[in-house]
Amino acid sequence: MADPMRIRAQALNGNVVVKVLMQHEMETGQRKDANGKTIPAWHITDVSASLNGTPVFSAQWGPAVSKNPFLQFTIKGGKAGDKVSVQWVDNLGNKRVDEATVV
């Protein structure tokens, strides 16, 4: 199973700035291996986040997002101690959810 995400959620001027580093190959499906066979696509397709259990953000990604993707977004409102949870789903149906506390 995939490695955990590194999530940092920081309260700043009444908002919460969330930085996420995911561990994922993000294989595009364009590359070929040494034998000339195409390496199948394997990448994150959907990302979503919630604040204290309320969905606040979602994104759809193609294969052209970099390997081990970095994402930063800002949640309006929120304060230190709140819980931010982030989930991704890849095109093979793998999932990963991680949670962080706002500092």
Binding site: W61, P63, V65, P69, K76
Partner: protein, 152 residues
């Protein structure tokens, strides 16, 4: 005190709220058909998304390096100050598929995102903001990709 009855009432209220909100979001998600990620050109993409002609706008900000030494990791920051933005896109014109990432903007998040993208070659990078009334605003920037460390 919270009785079971209250809980059920709240639950019903919440369900009602969600029912009001979700069709909108579902509609937006539907607009972003998976075929959008297959679009090879900008025109194809706008067609797949059912959007009108994009307009270059100062209300969309895009920041990326002028020269990316490693096309596999190009940091991109997009933001928009336009009213009622519902979605923001990152596009790379000369990639095999134009659409790289799409971010849903809800009232709970700011229309400002940062991520890293792959670029196959020197190309224009676009940040697109789509508003609730289907206006399409964009900002563009050329990013030079130097491959193979030849510094070219």
């Amino acid at each position: 005190m919270n009785t079971r009855r209250d809980l059920i009432k709240q639950g019903a209220l919440l369900a009602g709220l969600l029912a009001g909100v979700l069709p909108l979001q579902a509609g937006a998600a539907e607009a972003l058909a998976k075929s959008a990620f297959d679009a090879k050109t900008l025109d194809e993409l706008y067609k797949a998304l059912g959007l009108g002609k994009p307009v270059e706008s100062k209300e969309v900000q895009l920041s990326a390096p002028d020269i990316a030494e490693n096309g596999a990791v190009v940091p991109v920051t997009i933001a928009s100050g336009a009213a009622n933005v519902v979605r923001m896109l990152v596009l790379v014109e000369k990639n095999p598929s134009v659409l790289t990432a799409s971010f849903d903007v809800s009232p709970a998040v700011e229309a400002a995102f940062q991520t890293r993208v792959k670029m196959g070659q020197t190309s224009n990078l676009y940040a697109v903001a789509i508003t609730a009334d289907k206006k399409v605003l964009f900002a563009q920037k050329e990013v030079k990709v130097t491959l193979g460390g030849c510094g070219g």
